[in-house]
Amino acid sequence: MSTELHHFEAERLLLKGARLLDPATGLDALEDLLVEDGVIVARGRDLDDTDAEVLDLGGLTVVPGFVDLRARFGEPGREDRETVESGLDAAAAGGFVAVCVTPEATPVTDHAGAVAALLAKAEEHVTTLLPLGAVTRGLQGERLADLGELAKAGVAGYCEGNRGLGGGSALRGALGYSRMFGLPLFELARERSLSGGDLHEGVVSLRMGVKGEPRLAEDLGVFAAIRVAEHEEAPLHLQLLSTRESLEWLRQAKARGVRVTADASPQHLALNHERCLDFDPSTRLAPPLRPEEDRRALLAAAAEGLLDAVCSDHRPAEFDELDREFPYCPFGCASLETAFAVAHRVLVESGACGLERLIELFSAGPRCILGLPPATFEPGTPAELTLLDLDHRWTYRGGEALTLGVNSPWEGVEFQVRPMGVVNGRHAALRG
């Protein structure tokens, strides 16, 4: 089975033979869709249109388009890790119609020119690039970036990258100021003085002789961030929660009506810290992989709706950076192309939740956080669709993947479901 994605653009597209599944409306039917100039104009059985490019999607399931809330590309500055093109290709291969790209580039995305450059590079691609603007200039953590200018330039939100704002005064200022522009603030919440370990501080880091980061770093960071957001009455999106205490703070905050949302990565839903024991650098994640009880709590939170979204946290690295001693390897893993398959395995195949809930975590949840309207199949709405094959055995091989990143913990792993393409306005990409 080819891993190639074929890209094309058409004035009129006819999607035939697929199962349409929309958890938000309860739609679950074998119907065709006619898309004209990027907008759905008809939905029904046995549609016909002689002028349209026909996509035969028999056996596939079409769902509202997935949006990824966190991916790091390398362009500009580290094109060896990922270019805009390879990153968007990987996103399309992962079934994403849009992907939020963190500002951690060289130069940092903290001014209008950088935003414009990214958008220009991404213009013709099927997957939409949603740039996230840096909260502070140069991501130095001192002075705020020109958030107003960034808003006008078209960022989808603000994000301080893996460093985070570190709580307290910086977060307060950021939330207070950014709320004027109506864009979400994404934060990897950490108590900075406690962070800096390579793995979760526990019996595994002890056995490995590796510096551990205590769970306190996240627990305290999340607690403080929620309180600041509550105090400022500003919406906050917490990224990559991983501990059971974080989830508990989140639960209590939501119960008292605080405007806070949260996501987690597929890796944290699927793996625990024992996976790190053989010093594989692609298991060195931020936040670190946690013990099994935290993973189970995270699964339950995703299944029940306490978590609003799953994000890939795609952080590709190239070969030489990984071909070194464990503590010197960069954090993160390439994960756009496996995100859905992994999440499907640990949430749906395990029985933790249904397919509908999973689709919400990849589609409706992220859109709501970004302030985007939900993607639907109703005539008159833009076509933003993800095409899935829910019965497709495949094995992830980094060598065949579209990402340039070689750091995946899923190398050689077999999955049961696969994203087969996306339709985004006039553009489409289809596998095979």
Binding site: E201, G202, V203, L206, R207, M208, G209, V210, K211, G212, D278, F279, D320, D323, R324, E325, F326, P327, Y328
Partner: protein, 320 residues
């Protein structure tokens, strides 16, 4: 004697010595038994056997260590192996060469074994994936220092016979200690009751999950131990929030003669991996006194390293 000059039996199930975590009691005893035979060699006027003649060993030391390196070098020379020394300060790592590239330079020379000390945990495992040579871990960050633990075990075994049920307490900065971790693995394998003692901030919370008991009071530890293995304590940037001063450490945890007289049984033995900070973790009186096995540890170190080299490389001599 003759049996040592023949090719070694494949007694160890491992190709490398990366740590003691995966070594069985049987393998540890084999190493210690073999070391005993080499102790006999070290008593002779001509302290050399031709066992590893033709074998080349590279000592790859990225961290300063005079004692361990000399000990390994002596072990290699006593076995008639050829040794090459590499130390970071004189090497191209200063110029930014990666471990992978350093290994790539070693590989074409068809080196039989590499003894490495490096600051990154897991680096010896990494090296074993870069080279075909036998890899012997001389200390990888805070992970393991297996030959140190083995020589500690040999020292104890020679004095006590079986270690079954013996209460061995490691004293000091356990958190950052590869000596402690390797000892915990080795002692547990041989049936000892392993305990640790030190400031609470320097003892990892999860150490109990390894079956180790914790004392925050050194006098209480002395009352409940058969052996103290005293670790060197240092003030470093990373322990600023863990350890106030060496003076305070000595006041609270120093192993002094007076404390031992009041709280330890007459049979309690004292080990120290060296180098010792006289007057800090241990007093001179104790270090040089009747309970101390420190000098024996040094001799045993060479014998243990000879045993490890012999057991891992002895089979190779047949190939030459």
């Amino acid at each position: 004697m003759n049996e040592l000059e023949q090719a070694a039996p494949a007694g160890l199930r491992h190709k490398h010595l990366l740590g003691l975590e995966d070594y069985s009691a049987g393998e540890i005893h084999l190493i210690l038994d073999t070391a005993e035979s080499f102790l006999e060699v070290l008593e002779r006027p001509i302290k050399k056997v031709p066992t590893l003649r033709g074998i080349t060993v590279v000592n790859l030391f990225f961290e300063n260590s005079t004692r361990t390196r000399i000990s390994f070098e002596m072990a290699e020379k006593r076995l008639s192996a050829d040794t090459v020394n590499f130390s970071a300060s004189t090497s191209s790592t200063q110029k930014g060469e990666t471990l992978r590239d350093t290994a790539a330079n070693v590989a074409p020379m068809k080196i039989d074994a590499v003894v490495m000390r490096h600051s990154a945990p897991g680096s010896c495992l990494f090296l074993s994936r870069c080279l075909d040579s036998v890899i012997i871990n001389a200390g990888d960050g805070a992970h393991e220092h297996p030959t140190q633990a083995l020589l500690d075990l040999l020292t104890l075994r020679r004095r006590l016979g079986s270690l079954e049920g013996k209460r061995v307490t490691l004293v000091g900065d356990i958190l950052h200690s590869r000596v402690a971790l390797s000892n915990i693995h080795g002692l547990t394998r041989l049936g000892a009751k392993v305990q640790v003692c030190g400031p609470a901030t320097l003892i990892p919370r999860h150490i109990r999950e390894l079956g180790v008991e914790v004392f925050w009071n050194v006098e209480e530890a002395m009352e409940n131990s058969d052996v103290l293995n005293v670790l060197r304590i240092q003030l470093e940037r990373h322990n600023a929030h863990h350890l106030p001063s060496l003076r305070e450490y000595h006041e609270e945890f120093g192993v002094t003669q007076d404390r031992l007289d009041r709280h330890a049984s007459d049979d309690l033995l004292v080990l120290h991996p060296g180098p010792i900070n006289r007057g800090v973790e241990i007093s001179s009186e104790v270090a040089d006194g009747g309970r101390s096995l420190i000098l024996e540890q040094v001799t045993h170190g060479v014998a243990v390293r000879m045993a490890v080299l012999y057991l891992l490389l002895g089979g190779k001599t047949r190939e030459h």
